[in-house]
């Protein structure tokens, strides 16, 4: 009897479960269940974005990566910035009153002309605007007596402090010239290991000497057992940088360095107040991650209010922001695309930016499609779903994506990918005719157009030289064709026939891919950092390109560390690499071929170890010139030399594809400006409406699954009940 009742109970449970599912199905008709954000954020003026890699550094003296710039550029304000809409990229003031122009002096300190032969130093007098305030921060909080509220913290004061918001009192102060001077001194700090210290110490007078002084001071502190104690950099003079008054500071550059102004638009030159440095240096702060590397402090439109790089990073509007207005001019077509609709309006438009950590592409992409991210890049996996590329026309979004109102934004990155030949190698390197012809032949044989099509979904353009579009010196159309590798067909480049390449190989002394003297097959070695089975097609493709010339290619696959070792030792023969621009000036690409930058033995950035005295001479002439027809002429000559010498097989300039939802406005790709968040605008009502439309829960499958389970279990239950009854019936 008991077992009988138990069986009924089971049936009731199943029935109840099904009923519950049906109720849930009905309940599911309203509201959305998959919103990953708190309900309190619905309808708010918040931009949602994602990041895949946690930022390593948020200290402006240390950060040198794109992933980090997306945060720092919204918080810090270096003296200059790039105009959001204007092209070519133009530097405009950020915190300075006017863009600084250098004055030149000789070794005795006497003014000289810009083109004088005896220029010893360039002086940049930089005057910042008055009245700019820092974001609210506890480092600035003061007692009624005027002392800093948190200037002398004891361990007991930090007992319940885990984040910056645990300090209840905040304050602010005006931005002054000394803050910029302090940050430039920080570049020399041995504690920070700023990545640009080496470069800047070559240019800023006294920076290398300051580094030695600071290293000695650090050593002294370490001897006293106080290696973590605060080192007040204001007590150490930096000969080349000084504050002239409250709002003016001077930077003294050795000789001429015309590209220096571009560095003034990077966060390395953002202001750091001494109070903040002292605040974070207090004992016990670093152990709680209370450092400038974790909680940046700036004057920009946004401030970091939450830093949990494991889950999310939140920027909020800086209540003390000095204000800026949306640009009133841009390129001719900008008005047509609605990019000037907000001209002259105060920015930023968005109150808060939430960056969520997404380690994997699938959830990131699907959340974008559900409307939970406002923009998304496109991975190769999702490319076909998102983009349609018709022959001879621009890429467009697929009908499915277009139906959601999503738009595609494309821009060519200020970047060049290439395959380089080591100039020190006996076979492919050097200026001898045979090696040059071999390099030219390989450059013709490697079909980069095919590479872009196969491995990058067409996202890129084949490079005609080292300079990408958007950088002064780049030539478009017929004038820009690399005539060593391409034929000019009706003003458009067409890769030379493979027979031409074979002829060059034969002239190089390898007819049919064999050494004419020894008869041995020509074997070349390609070093790559590919890893794993996913990269095999790429490697096979390169082997196939060399095979066209009957050259045997051996691929030496290593991890990135070993690859870099080979670069430093000059032991690679042919290798693949790339360069992303620091700033939009041809010097930033062409210096990669200057002999003073050779990796071997100078450990510079010229990884191909290319050396050509004529190129060096032209480069030295060109690097400090203003953009002008004369400069263009020099660049053309330099590019021609590079095409002839072919130290690189110029690969391609990648194209960035980004998708945006229809509710996001004022979007224009800017490869240089990372502080574009302040220009963006969201139609919050439209976003809410679309999210509600797209995310209605579908609950009928649950009921279906429940019924299926019940159907499976019911016979078993019946069987069980029968067995129990049978047992009870046995005498």
């Amino acid at each position: 009897m008991e077992n009988h009742l138990e069986g009924h109970r089971h049936c009731r449970v199943v029935e109840s479960f099904i009923a519950l599912m049906l109720v849930a199905a009905l309940a599911g008709c309203g509201g959305i269940w998959n919103d990953p954000y708190p309900t309190s954020e619905r309808g708010q003026n918040i931009l949602y974005s994602a990041f895949t890699e946690r930022p390593k550094h948020l200290d402006p003296a240390q950060s040198y990566s794109e992933d980090e710039a997306i945060f720092l550029a919204q918080i810090y304000e270096p003296p200059a910035q790039y105009h959001y809409l204007r092209r070519p990229y133009t530097l405009i003031p950020m915190t300075v009153e006017t863009m600084p122009a250098p004055r030149f002096i000789d070794a005795d300190g006497q003014p000289v002309a810009a083109d004088a032969a005896n220029v010893a130093f360039s002086l940049y007098d930089i005057r910042i605007k008055s009245g700019i305030l820092y974001q609210p921060h506890p480092a600035f909080a003061r007692e009624a007596s005027g002392d800093y509220r948190y200037g002398d913290l004891k361990p007991v004061d930090l007992k319940n402090v885990y984040t910056l918001s645990d300090f209840k009192q905040t304050g602010t102060r005006e931005l002054i010239a000394a803050d910029y001077v302090y940050e430039i001194k920080r570049l020399a700090s041995p504690r920070l290991n700023s990545p640009i210290f080496g470069l800047m110490s070559e240019h800023i007078a006294g920076l290398a000497e300051l580094a030695k002084k600071l290293t000695a001071a650090e050593a002294k502190l370490a001897e006293m057992g106080e290696e973590d104690a605060w080192l007040d950099l204001s007590k150490y003079d930096l000969a080349g940088v000084e504050a002239l008054d409250r709002y003016t500071f001077r930077i003294k550059i050795k000789g001429r360095y015309a590209q220096f102004v571009h560095w003034l638009a990077m966060s390395f030159f953002a202001p750091v107040p001494i109070e903040v440095d002292r605040f974070y240096a207090q004992k016990g702060m670093a152990a709680r991650n209370l450092t400038l590397d974790w909680y940046p402090v700036g004057t920009g439109p946004y401030m970091l209010s939450e830093n949990n790089p494991n889950a999310r990073i939140v920027l909020e509007r800086n209540p003390n922001y000095h204000g800026e207005r949306y640009p009133e001019e841009g390129e001719p077509q900008d008005a047509q695309f609605g990019l000037l609709a907000d001209a002259g309006k105060p920015i930023p438009f968005i109150d808060k930016v939430v960056f969520s950590r997404e380690r994997e592409g699938i959830p990131y992409w699907n959340k974008f499609l559900q409307g939970y991210y406002d923009s998304s890049s496109i991975s190769s996996d999702n490319f076909d779903q998102a983009v349609r590329v018709a022959v001879g026309s621009d890429a467009t979004v697929t009908p499915e994506i277009a139906a959601k109102g999503i738009t595609l934004d494309t821009s060519i990155a200020a970047s060049t990918r290439y395959l380089a030949f080591n100039w020190l190698d006996a076979v492919v390197g050097g200026s001898v005719d045979s090696a040059r012809k071999l390099r030219q032949a390989i450059s013709i044989a490697i079909d980069w157009e095919e590479y872009i099509s196969i491995f990058s979904n067409g996202r890129g353009i084949a490079a005609q030289g080292p300079l990408p579009p958007g950088v002064f010196g780049y030539c478009d159309g017929e004038a820009g064709i690399n005539r060593v590798v391409y034929d000019d067909v009706n003003g458009k480049p067409r890769r030379k026939p493979i027979e031409e390449a074979r002829r060059l190989v034969a002239e190089a002394g390898y007819p049919g891919g064999r050494d004419a003297k020894t008869g041995e097959p020509l074997v070349l070695y390609l070093d790559t950092t590919s890893s794993g089975p996913d990269d095999k097609p790429t490697i096979d493709w390169f082997v196939k390109q060399f095979k066209k010339l009957d050259i045997q290619l051996e691929v030496r696959d290593t991890d990135y560390n070993r690859f870099q070792d080979k670069m430093r030792n000059g032991s690679a023969q042919i290798f693949r690499w790339g360069w992303n621009a620091d700033y939009p000036d041809p010097e930033n690409f062409l210096f990669l071929f200057h002999s003073s930058q050779r990796k071997v033995p100078l450990q510079g950035e010229n990884a191909a170890n290319y050396a050509n005295p004529e190129f060096d001479r032209l480069f030295d002439q060109m690097k400090n010139m203003q953009n002008s027809p004369e400069r263009q002429t020099l660049i053309n000559r330099m590019v021609t030399i590079l095409r002839e010498d072919a130290p690189w097989s110029f690969g391609y300039h990648p194209k960035d594809y980004t998708l945006h939802h229809s509710w996001l406005a004022n979007l224009k790709s800017n490869q240089m400006a990372r502080n574009s968040m302040k220009y963006r605008k969201i139609d919050v009502v439209l976003r809410e409406q679309r999210r509600n439309e797209w995310n209605r829960p579908v609950v009928w499958p649950l009921a279906f699954v429940a019924l299926g389970l019940a159907a499976m279990v019911a016979p078993a239950l019946r069987n069980y009940r029968r067995r129990e009854r049978d047992t009870a019936g046995v005498p």
Binding site: I32, P36, N193, G198, R357, E358, A716, T727
Partner: protein, 326 residues
């Protein structure tokens, strides 16, 4: 019992030293201190001086294991291995190579890891034991046969398939829960946990159900089971009151040892569901060549594993009065 406990704790010390040494050697076979410096300083414009300075500031300019320039004990103590390892034994994990406090990170990430691992473990155990008992109950019927076939099929499928399939069906097509994310606040947390917990439980059912079924089948033919049936107990009572209790020793062997390791989180689940736990912390550290974190996590893993083994031994005494630890 106490002497047994003390002895096991003392045994743990050479094991931990060995694990630490092994990790150290493996790590530095692949990465040199120069590589570590470059990983932190970036790839552009980094000078050799900057690399030397970085190493010097963090003590990576010393010999790895043996300092032949030092005198006496310092030959062993003035090395990277000794200086970086000794503090671990006091559970002072120090700072990551980017300067961040590892202990703080671990404490922050332990919660999210446990929020996934504990329900997956608990529910998984409950479901697997229940299903195994059901299969044993219906042994030699179609339900048992197809149940075992299903288990074998389920255990043959990669856990990645369950994750992607779960996200596709439940989050993308049916839109019932967020596809990824995490919240530490009550109800909000639940909506993020449902899917990863469900996927975690489902992906583990096949293997564990088969395992428990095998254990229970071994027990079901014992004399005491026959006696219980002879007494007139229902089959359910026999299974739940007698068989489960007597199968506890093999169950505990597999289960208790895992409990402390739950703190370490799940690598795949955390990665795909954007759970900010310890599993993803370890993966990030390996990717960024952060030896300090790798060392700390391996050490923590070893300690937890040793604790797990010890707890397993102790738990035997609780479920089987015949077991004595000496």
């Amino acid at each position: 019992m106490i002497s047994y406990f003390v002895r096991r704790v003392l045994y743990a010390i050479p094991i931990l030293v060995g694990v630490n040494l092994f990790t150290f050697v493996l790590f530095f076979v692949v990465n040199t201190p120069d590589d570590m410096a470059r990983a932190q300083l970036g790839n552009k414009r980094v000078t050799q001086e900057a690399i030397e300075q970085w190493k010097s500031a963090r003590g990576y300019d010393k010999p790895l294991l043996y300092n032949d320039k030092a005198e006496g004990v310092a030959r062993v103590t003035d090395t990277i291995f000794f200086e970086k390892s000794i503090r671990l034994f006091a559970f002072d994990f120090g700072h990551a190579e980017d300067g961040r406090d590892i202990g703080h990170e671990i404490s922050m990430r332990m919660g999210p890891s446990l929020a996934i691992a504990v329900p997956v473990f608990g529910l998984g155990l409950y479901v697997a034991i229940s299903l195994a008992l059901m299969l044993v109950f219906f042994r030699a019927t179609y339900l048992d046969f197809w149940g075992v076939v299903t288990c074998v099929a389920m255990m043959s499928i990669s856990s990645l398939f369950y994750i992607i399939g779960g996200q596709y069906l439940i989050s993308k097509l049916w839109q019932l829960v967020p596809i990824s994310g995490f919240s530490a606040n009550g109800i909000d947390a639940a909506k993020f946990l449902i899917l990863p917990v469900f996927v975690g439980v489902i992906s583990g059912i096949g293997a564990s159900t088969r395992w428990y079924r095998a254990i229970f089948l071994e027990e079901i033919n014992r004399d005491y089971v026959r006696t219980a049936r002879a007494k007139g107990l229902s089959e359910l009572a026999v299974l739940f009151r007698h068989v489960v209790r007597n199968a506890m020793i093999p169950i505990l062997t597999g289960v208790v040892v895992v409990i402390p390791s739950l703190f370490l989180g799940s690598l795949l689940l955390e990665s795909f569901f954007a759970i900010p736990g310890l599993g993803s912390y370890t993966i990030d550290a390996i990717r960024s060549e952060d030896f300090a974190i790798v060392r700390a996590m391996v050490f923590l893993g070893s300690v937890l594993y040793i604790i797990g083994l010890l707890l397993t031994d102790l738990s035997y005494t609780l479920v089987d009065p015949r077991v004595r630890l000496q």
